[in-house]
């Protein structure tokens, strides 16, 4: 580890590795610090991605793909279901391999990566650079960076250290539990969603196939609606009722921010990306491709800022503005839909499922399901149409 870098990135998930790669490819020196012992581990993710979302950032390696998704099924509380066939190709990834490979690509671009490296604090120098206090291999050292990129996940500690309030309201977090279930009888090319207040209040249950009779089965419970029970208790009940014979090969827990992004994504010499910036689709909880899109934007802007010798908030705002104009804009629409759907009752879920009974999957559009869901809230219909255009 050297004493100074142009860009120091905290966190080795998809956001951090992508930002690192794009910054390095644009000609600046980059160091990436990962707190844990291994990039990609532990996985805290349902691992679903869209083909177009990933392909905007990187070519897809077949080794990442556990299952290819072409169909969706939505289950109502009484297990009526609605089938949807999508033109969009989706995958369930092996995040462990994917994250590892993203870091390998960053390393090949010249990024210096360190695992078991924790940021303990930082101070500003007189010339506006940042002295970052890093604990690495049981020894503290100071590393100077012109720009720090915080990609440190849901805890978002780096932004907090910089005085930015990142703490989530209870209604804006999903508390999640998931198992990798073995020996389950499922359609290997279909993702299933179960919607019910009793199974996962304010969230949903997902079944994401992973090939070879396996699936990620998990759920999210809204932080404001858990009624004193933990996500793991809800998941155990769901599995006992719906997949009583499944093996549980992996058990994981985590949280998903379901809000709009932080109002400030950059400060002087600091950029925030990924879960740390709450850059997650608040309706689906999907955050991989948006974290990578933000990483790409931030990495390119950081390199340009360093070449220009200007690391001010004003200069770095190119990233903030680009995000807010593109994905951020869509996510504000998704957030309004999520706030409506979060409060829907089992009776309302049943009504929607009933309305689509008997229809062929090719005739059911996701956009029409959501338009039905918000029919009593006309102001949201425009949002549903805009964000699901083409689905």
């Amino acid at each position: 580890m050297k004493d100074r870098y142009d860009v120091l990135i905290v966190g080795g998930g998809p956001a951090g590795s992508t930002a690192a790669r794009f910054a390095a490819q644009n000609g600046v020196s980059v160091c990436l610090l990962e707190r844990d012992r291994e990039i990609g581990v532990p996985v805290r993710c349902a691992e679903g991605v869209s083909d177009t979302g990933i392909r905007k950032i990187i070519d897809i390696n077949p080794n990442w793909i556990a299952a290819t998704i072409k169909r969706f099924r939505f289950h109502s509380p009484t297990k009526k279901y609605v089938d949807v066939s999508s033109n969009e190709i989706g995958y369930v990834f092996y995040r462990r391999i994917f994250d590892h490979d993203l870091a390998v690509e960053a390393a090949k671009s010249g990024v210096e990566i360190f695992t078991k490296a924790t940021v303990c604090g930082f101070t500003k120098t007189e010339d506006g650079f940042t002295n970052v206090l890093v604990r690495y291999e049981n020894r503290e050292r100071t590393v100077q960076a012109k720009i720090v990129i915080a990609a440190d996940g849901i805890e978002s500690r780096i932004a907090r250290m910089a005085g930015i309030r990142t703490n989530l309201a209870l209604k804006d977090i999903e508390s999640c539990a998931q198992v990798l279930a073995g020996n389950v009888d499922i359609d290997p090319g279909r993702i299933d969603f179960y919607l019910s207040e009793k199974w996962s209040p304010g969230g949903y249950v997902w079944v994401f196939p992973k090939g070879n009779r396996m699936a990620n089965i998990g759920l999210g419970v809204n932080g404001s609606m858990a009624k004193g029970r933990s996500a793991s208790e809800y998941l155990n009940e769901f599995l006992d009722q719906n997949f009583p014979n499944a093996s549980r090969l992996t058990t994981i827990y985590g949280g998903v921010p379901v809000t709009t992004n932080l109002s400030r994504l950059v400060e002087d010499g600091l950029m925030i990306i990924g879960d740390a910036a709450h850059q997650v689709n608040p309706l689906t909880g999907g955050g991989i491709s948006s974290a990578m899109a933000a990483g790409k934007m931030a990495g390119i802007v950081a390199a340009d800022a360093i070449h220009c010798g200007d690391i001010s908030r004003k200069k770095l705002c190119t990233y903030e503005n680009e995000w807010n104009r593109t994905i951020g804009k869509d996510y504000r629409r998704f957030y309004r839909l999520k706030e409506w759907i979060r409060n829907m009752t089992d009776k309302e879920f049943e009504e929607i499922a009933s309305a689509f009974q008997g229809m062929a999957p090719t005739d059911v559009k996701i956009s029409s399901i959501f338009r039905m869901a918000v029919k009593n809230k006309p102001s949201l219909i425009v949002d549903a149409i805009k964000v699901f255009a083409g689905f």
Partner: protein, 64 residues
């Protein structure tokens, strides 16, 4: 103050993300609380996916 059941805490960090006072801190292998600044809002207890957090009158944590 907040008690952490270390037998079941999975070190996932959800509690950290909702704490309004930044009194929880996670390392790779340890979750730390600063009960001097905890305001007793119980948000962390409500979002813990495994129910590893609870509120107690005084710290009954054993020393490390």
């Amino acid at each position: 103050m907040i008690r952490i059941n270390r037998e079941i805490c999975d070190l996932c960090g959800v509690c950290v993300s909702v704490c309004p006072e930044d009194c929880l801190e996670l390392t790779e292998t340890y979750l730390r609380t600063d009960n001097n600044i905890c305001i007793g809002c119980r948000f962390c207890i409500k979002v813990c996916p495994v129910g590893a957090l609870s509120e107690v009158e005084e710290s009954d944590e054993r020393p490390l």
